[in-house]
Symmetry: C2
Subunit: 202 residues, 2 copies
DNA sequence: CGTTAGTTTGAGGCAGATCAACTTTGGTGG
DNA sequence: CCACCAAAGTTGATCTGCCTCAAACTAACG
């Protein structure tokens, strides 16, 4: 969901800056606001009791986040964390309610966004069952690199996004590099053959 | 999302009956309507190219379904299938659009529902990573039996809901029965100890 | 240039999938 | 109402993809 559509209607808001690794809101806490990214990137990470982490969604410049829990009216099911220097605009509950009431056309926008996200989440769920780790990692590389070309993703982040371990990501990436499908560049990488990367397996 | 909230606004609709196993709409086809369950139960099953199936959501009497793809404006990502004799009311696209326009308060209802469903889908995604098959199967038994006590779920359906195989479900259920946590009753089962079932592992 | 966080690679183990053979269930039609 | 049979379930044996643990290496930042 894009900030630009809502921006004209906002009368009051606060702004805050975060550095890489800082938590913007914490899993299990209650939502009180909506968040917008003025600049930077934010990741949504679910942490389970046994220490495993899953990277649920990424938000870039101009995106709204924190809306799922806000509208579900339930505690956050994940931490939101800055993935670099990030500037966030915070809209209070009162302001959100006013805007929703005065501009119902934005609700349809929100319905549409959530419907798309639900579809993606369910396809990822199915993907864990029917795709190999190599396939999931390859797809994650495509998604993360094309959507956020300036972000240097760690193996851990790619692993959490692919629902696997960072060792498995390292192995797949070594294999991809050996086949010239990607090219490692320090901790970063570039995609040499997008077609092969999309269809990679074993 | 409950039919009762929308029912008063519907002027035109069609009705159709389905028997167990019949497909109501097919994965990859385009949504043209919204569906309501007058009686019966409907399952949403994603099928992947390699033949694996994942049971994404269940809908009971009074529920709306087909709304995710409808509002995402994208092809269905799963088959919807009658899980028993089921009577469905079909609302055309034109009728949906009219109702959405005339009754924006329903949109907030839809936002809320989708936000809850997205949270559940993402927690299931995380669960595949951080829970054992025994835990996932136990949770599925709790959910499916408490929510739909009259439905006799096959091992395959429970497996697809738990993102595992029917053999694994059979093994877990045998173990649960040996510990008197559940009791098998033909193909059905009853829950003897809900607390232990919720927290079951290994 | 030292330190720390991140990465690579190997070896080994195991949870759960797969394959296979057999049993049970419950609906159907004679 | 019972006999039949296809569909569903059970159970054992085996296999394997991926995780885990470990150890050495390297990039990046102050």
């Amino acid at each position: 969901m894009k900030y630009q559509k809502i921006k004209p209607f906002i009368k009051h808001s606060n702004s805050r800056n975060y550095k890489r690794g800082e938590i913007i809101y914490a899993q299990d806490s209650l939502p009180t606001s909506l968040y917008f990214i003025e600049s930077g990137t934010v990741g949504l990470f679910h942490n389970s009791s046994n220490g495993k982490e899953v990277f649920l969604r990424v938000f870039g410049k101009g995106s709204i986040f924190g809306h799922r829990s806000y509208f579900a009216n339930s505690p956050y099911h994940a931490n939101s964390m800055a993935l670099g220097n990030t500037s966030i605009i915070i809209i209070s509950n009162e302001e959100c309610q006013r805007i929703c009431k005065e501009h119902p056309e934005l609700l349809m926008e929100m319905v549409s966004q959530l419907a798309v996200d639900l579809g993606q989440a369910e396809l990822r769920l199915a993907g864990v069952h029917d795709k190999t780790v190599a396939q999931r990692v390859s797809e994650s590389l495509v998604f993360l690199k094309l959507r956020y070309p300036d972000q240097v993703w760690t193996r851990k982040e790619i692993a959490d996004f692919s629902v696997t371990t960072f060792e498995s990501v390292a192995r797949v990436m070594t294999l991809l590099a050996e086949n010239n499908i990607i090219q490692k560049n320090g901790r970063d990488f570039i995609i040499n053959d997008l077609e092969k990367l999309i269809n990679f397996n074993i």
